[in-house]
Symmetry: C2
Subunit: 426 residues, 2 copies
């Protein structure tokens, strides 16, 4: 397509997506699953061609001096392709969310009223360098009966174009419209501005990337945005707790991996457990080189731990998402103080209580206003795969529509269905 | 409160709402129900005082030359007060939506994952002259565990202030924060601009009023809007149909009341039924003075009906919400054409098929992309009370979050809950 005139180009893309969405909403479960299985096969059969396209991006990126981690994210290769192909097959095996009818109840007037799950329509996905997101987003769109418009990072354009060709081939093979999944074929940034401001063609925008990108898109979008800003996750050690278990879970929540958004960034400890728990977790953190930014009471205890790096926490530390071997630590006097602190400083992503006290567990579950609230588990579990969603298109830190990991259901909504026998309103 | 400095005033209102929302989210079902029952009692006990406040508004409105229907909407009186008091009692009798836990499933890792229904937080409600909306919105906020900020029409300010005092008294009597329901005490329009642009304090805006107001608010809001633009509802007479029943239902859908948004504005008739159905429904419409704006084929048939007013439909007619004794009429050749016409011209509010053919009914249900889709029932049923929601805060024509009548559940969302026994991520 001619991509010179961006507004005209994006309008054509939008119109095609809207038309395809109608066909995808009515598509049979069988056709959608056949598409996913064909896509898995095509991915495996075309590893060499995909690697060749990927090499163009990798060489350009290396020539432009991109860093090692950036090149890592950009790389496809047999292993990444096998993983996304398997993901397509897993989605094919999942129940179709579309058409589910729930809660049908007979009303006094005689009509039966319930709700039917239907696709949202068209979603726009804006993401950065990782080309496997192209397949993840396309496969979720296909299974959920939506059309999508994908705008990947410009540094991955050759890889994305090659992957997209396979998606289109799979759609056509199964008798579905190739335009159900479209890739923005230009790296011109003006296309993003258009994509987020076409309410006639796009129902929701899902950005994935740095906080700056997501804030900018949210501020400028003319359609709803499913957004994930940051993950300042808390683990709270209650007054009554299994200390041995709490040590294992807290260690896992912080140190199993530092970069994910569901890693714990702040540790709250009830004063009754502070002198028991803090020296032991402090020793674990010290051994792994985790810096502790502590309140005065926590610092007094942690400073005695051999080899520990303990500094004074500033006010800013309570809100910080470190994504690094750093954790803020605070001693609290009550469960109420812990809940109030979390509701004030958390990014509302994931927060956990470790406790043996049932009423406290239930109060924490109910009163902590976060997308995922956990009892006696590592915050690292907050993830679409771990929750059984099959795949996730993103994690929402918003309250509206979908909270937390967003899978197939988050790409749908419920319409009302009324089944009558000729009833009229009196 | 000092309302001179609007930004400072609205910030204080917003901060108080956010603080109250935390307490409302944790409020017991019993406290919320006691508030609603106290409010019903206070409303009934204060009819005279409410009428006196209402008289100030009515007199000012009459002096300003407001029209009869406007004065009607503004009027409280014993009957309106009895109705809203009864509404509070009905809400008290309904199950509490907050805290419902659904879909808890054990995962292979050992954790159990489910979802818990929680309040959205703070909603802002912007409405026009009818003061009973103050009680409807307040009572829905209380039962759903939200805080709300109400901005009623300036012409109803004395009535709204008097009603709000009773809401606050009921909250205090039940031990809940008076600030859970706040009324914007100034009629300065700048307050609306502030209310819709405080994402830190307001989670969602619900406007009720004319299309112009709602479009303006949607364009300018910095938070999600649950909006209802218009209701261009269709009734489609299928090829196989119970004609006697179809006549009764179509008549009801169009003529039972002309002003509601769920009244049918457009009639589609399958060509096989056109010569049978159209003359009969045409006679009913002619007798009631309903003007028919018809496609050429429909016009050829309807023009023979004695006393009928039949004119050529223009392209604009297919999109029109008349709210008047006018209906557009089109003959279609297939179910596909009917569905395509509806998906193109409908406002996605409510559309119905009248049919005896089961596959056609199921295709219509699935493929018509509207908030309410009906089989063999009058579109006039699209209503929160008729659907059993107890009450409705509005009707959404959006796809995101909530579609159609929005009741208690539409004012909540689902957070994830994870129940573990010390599990960690591998």
């Amino acid at each position: 397509m001619n991509t010179q005139d961006i507004p005209a180009y994006m309008t054509r893309v939008g119109e095609a997506a809207r038309a395809a969405a109608t066909r995808m909403a009515a598509a049979s479960t069988s056709a959608k699953n056949r598409t996913l299985l064909a896509l898995a096969r095509l991915l495996r059969d075309n590893v060499a061609a995909l690697d060749a396209a990927n090499a163009l991006d990798l060489n350009a990126a290396a020539a432009n001096g991109l860093s090692g981690p950036m090149l890592d994210r950009l790389k496809l290769g047999a292993k990444v392709i096998a993983t996304v192909a398997e993901g397509c097959e897993q989605l094919a095996a999942m129940p179709d969310p579309v058409g589910e009818i729930t809660g049908v109840k007979r009303r006094p007037t005689g009509i039966s009223v319930g709700q039917m799950r239907v696709p949202l329509g068209v979603f726009g996905m804006i993401y950065e360098s990782r080309p496997n997101v192209t397949i993840e987003a396309a496969s979720l769109a296909i299974k959920s009966g939506n059309a999508c418009i994908l705008r990947g990072g410009s540094e991955a354009i050759h890889s994305n174009l090659a992957l997209w060709k396979l998606v289109q081939a799979a759609l056509v093979e199964a008798g579905l419209p190739a335009t159900a999944v479209q890739l923005v074929e230009t790296t011109d940034r003006a296309a993003v501005g258009q994509l987020i401001a076409m309410p006639a063609f796009v129902d929701v925008i899902i950005p994935r990337g740095g906080k700056g990108l997501i804030e900018r898109i949210s501020a400028e979008a003319k359609v709803p945005v499913i957004k994930h800003l940051d993950g300042n996750c808390h683990t709270y050690i209650d007054a009554e707790v299994d200390i041995a278990q709490a040590l294992v879970v807290t260690d896992n929540a912080k140190t199993q991996k530092y970069s994910p958004c569901n890693a714990t960034e702040s540790l709250l400890v009830h004063v009754n457990q502070a002198t028991t728990f803090l020296p032991q977790i402090g020793a674990i953190f010290a051994a792994k080189g985790v810096e502790m930014r502590a309140c005065p009471r926590a610092k007094a205890i942690l400073s005695d731990v051999p080899g520990a790096t303990v500094v004074d926490a500033t006010e800013a530390d309570w809100s910080e998402e470190y994504l690094a071997p750093v954790i803020s630590v605070k001693v609290v006097d009550t469960l109420d103080e812990a809940i109030a602190h979390i509701n004030r400083y958390s990014s509302h992503h994931t927060d956990a209580i470790l406790t043996t006290n049932h009423p406290n567990a239930m109060r924490f579950l109910r009163e902590v206003d976060s997308a995922s609230v956990m009892v006696n588990a590592s915050t690292r579990f907050a993830d679409g795969f771990e929750y059984g969603l099959g795949a996730e298109i993103g994690i929402s830190t918003d309250k509206f529509h979908a909270r937390g990991p967003v899978g197939l259901e988050g790409l749908t909504s419920m319409k009302w269905v009324v089944l009558g026998q000729g009833e009229i309103r009196q």
